[in-house]
């Protein structure tokens, strides 16, 4: 390189040595070695140790239910903040206008592991909020992000913290120090791929799903060896010509090569069937179906994937030949009813699908939002499209909008009440087909899209899965865009876009408690206990695909804090120095 020479008139001094920026914080640098003993067997039986939140959904079944009941309907009105962990970045980072704190924390024996947007991972003292260590992966400013700079969480096992990065790497960190132990490149950023998913540890593997459906990639799930980072299998969610499902794509042309179907939300797992239940994303281009005639498997589907081989054993497609951006990524909650092993999946398209999880057989389909105009799905599973972008440049308006009646944010299920609790978004959108040529790494929607900023509604709605009937509804004037949590205290916790964190009576939906966290909620709250004391933790930080799910709150404050609540007795807010 050309170099300007030192100035002869200057006698240069030695600058102080460079340091890790995280060392200029209150971080102590190490965490207790609690993660060393987290094994597959412990995660299998996660609900037997309710003091911890060992895996993304709390347990493999995805119920987001905790047996903790110290905080209950009688005393929840008394809970107060125990501590707050707040964070703000320095310098410029990708998605400065669109980041969100979408995390779901993991807690192991008093240590909380948290991922932030833009490559951060933190270990916190779960009792005091003290920062123990910090990891920061350098994320390119120019990564392709359809929906904001986000990361939904980490996985913890065998002394390691597993995390994905926006530039499509999968990392294993030392859970005591945050040091990187292995780092594999999982996807191609030049193709528009990224990773936002919280990994899932199953047996001795770490399973992740790719992002990038809005850029015309070919979706896939990958399993990596937990110790070495070697890839064990890859499961493409778009078949190549000649593979099963390829008959649902044009036999000529390249539609399948850019078909989407990404698995960007963590799946659930049943050790008895040895199947992963993973939702897949929209086909690409999202709204221009004429270039991809056919059902477009395995987009918008629940796929059951053999955990050992990565083979798809069965599938159920919720929106064949999607023209509305109705990803089916959202969780598949495993539960039993009438002696059957079932799963429930609340889809963007406004319908809940109850399936037999041993074979994918349809058990029940019911709507869970008031306004569904895009089409209709009969109880027998017959899909009838009614309003969709068709003619070039011609606006059509439909409900739900592309963010769906429920986006990725998760429902919960209480085995005590037998009810599902669902964060509902009731928002429409106007879409006009606008064909465009495919070019790698450039957004590939095939439409002009504007989401309504008026006449919105939202709720937490409780459903009986045996009938599909709504049992109660807690109404909110804005759509509900965050995951809900259910506890044995018969409480449902949920965050609103305005920043309120609320506790509802799980049996009636009555509002029992609320706290204004100062920024909208778009994350997954959890509960845990330390020394027998129960805490409720919720990451707060509004952002991400706000133009998609609630553009009426595009101006809402970002925020970036972990709020932790408990009963006031014995609180210890001594974190920091």
């Amino acid at each position: 390189m050309t170099d300007i020479q030192d100035r002869p008139d200057i006698e240069y001094g030695q600058a102080p040595p460079a340091v890790d920026f995280g060392s200029l914080t209150t971080a102590g640098g190490t965490a207790p070695p609690v993660a060393q003993d987290v094994t597959y067997e412990r995660i299998l039986d996660a609900r037997s140790e309710p003091q911890n939140w060992l895996t993304y959904y709390g347990a493999y079944d995805g119920q987001r239910y905790s047996p903790l009941d110290e905080i209950n309907t009688e005393n929840v009105v008394r809970i107060t903040p125990a501590w707050v962990f707040s964070f703000s970045p320095h310098g410029l980072h990708a998605g400065q206008s669109t980041y969100a704190f979408e995390n779901c924390p993991i807690v192991v024996d008093g240590v909380m592991y948290v991922s932030g947007w833009d490559g951060w991972v933190w270990a916190l003292d779960a009792k005091t909020g003290q920062l123990l260590w910090q990891y920061k992966h350098a994320i390119p400013f120019d990564v392709s992000l359809c929906c904001g700079n986000v990361n939904r969480g980490v996985a913890v096992a065998h002394g390691k913290v597993f995390v994905c990065t926006l530039n499509a790497h999968v990392l294993a960190l030392d859970a005591t120090t945050g040091e990187c132990l292995w780092d594999v490149t999982s996807g191609d950023v030049r193709a528009g791929e990224s990773l936002t998913v919280a990994p899932l540890v199953v047996k001795d593997r770490v399973v992740v799903g790719s992002s990038g459906g809005e850029f015309g990639v070919r979706g896939h799930l990958d399993a990596y060896d937990m110790e070495t980072g070697e890839r064990v299998w890859r499961c493409y969610t778009i078949p190549k010509p000649g593979e099963p499902g390829s008959e649902t794509w044009p036999s000529d042309g390249e539609a399948w090569t850019r078909g989407g179907g990404n698995g960007w939300i963590t799946g659930t797992f049943d050790p008895e069937t040895n199947l992963l239940y993973w939702g897949t994303g929209n086909p690409a281009p999202d709204f221009d179906g004429e270039v991809r005639p056919g059902d477009n498997l395995y987009t918008d589907s629940v796929i059951a994937v053999d955990a050992d081989t990565g083979e798809i054993r069965w599938h159920y497609q919720c929106t064949p030949h999607d023209l509305w951006d109705y990803d089916s990524n959202m969780e598949c909650i495993l539960f039993e009813q009438g002696g059957r092993k079932l799963l429930a999946h609340f889809d963007k398209n406004g319908y809940c699908f109850v399936l037999d999880r041993t074979n994918g057989e349809r058990v029940r389909i019911f709507p869970f939002v008031d306004r569904i105009t895009w089409g209709e799905i009969s109880p027998e599973g017959q899909v009838t499209p009614r309003i969709y972008p068709d003619k070039e440049g011609e606006d059509v308006h439909f409900y739900p909008g592309p963010a769906g009646a429920k986006e990725w944010t998760h429902a919960s299920y209480s085995p005590r009440t037998g009810l599902f609790y669902v964060p509902v978004q009731d928002t429409g959108a106007t879409v006009a087909r606008r064909r465009r040529e495919f070019k790698e790494s450039i957004p590939y929607w095939g439409a002009a899209v504007t989401v309504d900023i008026e006449e919105m509604a939202g709720s937490v709605s409780a459903f009986d899965p045996s009938t599909g009937e709504e049992v109660w509804r807690w109404r909110n004037d804005l759509p509900m865009c965050a995951s809900v949590l259910t506890t044995a205290g018969d409480l449902v916790f949920a965050g609103t876009p305005s920043g309120r964190f609320v506790a509802l009576d799980a049996r009636s939906g009555e509002l029992l408690w609320q706290f204004n966290c100062g920024s909208g909620h778009h994350s997954s709250p959890i509960t845990y206990s330390v020394d027998g004391k129960q805490y409720i933790a919720v990451p707060v930080g509004w952002g991400a695909w706000v133009e998609g799910f609630l553009p009426g709150m595009m101006g809402g404050p970002h925020g970036q804090a972990m709020f932790v609540f408990s009963l006031p007795e014995g609180q210890d807010s001594s974190g920091g120095r």
């Binding site: 992966h137 999982s186 030049r190």
Partner: protein, 154 residues
Amino acid sequence: MTSTASERSAALSEIGLDGQNQATIGRLLATGNIGHAEEGDDGRMRARIRIVPDQLIWDPSVLVLPHGGHLDIEFVNDDQNTHCALVPSNGDSKWMWLPNYSRGTMSVTLDGPGYYWFSSNIGNDEGRGLIGAIVVRGDVPESARLDRPQQPRP
């Protein structure tokens, strides 16, 4: 009206966007020089970046790497004020003081491809012009690419 790329440099200068306290208060970002890191036999890349006196600009302000990997940067502060350097790196961002007339080296690790901003994150050095870019060229490993035919690019 618009200017062509070849006219841009002259236009920036004519308007006074490539210096301090001319058209704008500070200097428009990314109007500085472009440099390339050198790769040693050991595979490490090396570069020197200076702060130009009274210009609040990194020189080069755009540093180009042929691929991801380890980079040693010697920062030299020729300015008569104290600044610092905050540079992204896998593991943690690196930070160092750069007192007046000082020099020091930091080592960072970056993935490719993509680009990263670095800056002096004190005062409003960033707004005045002390934001630079590290550009990493190349492709991801073959093992990370999609199994599909070659696709068109912009």
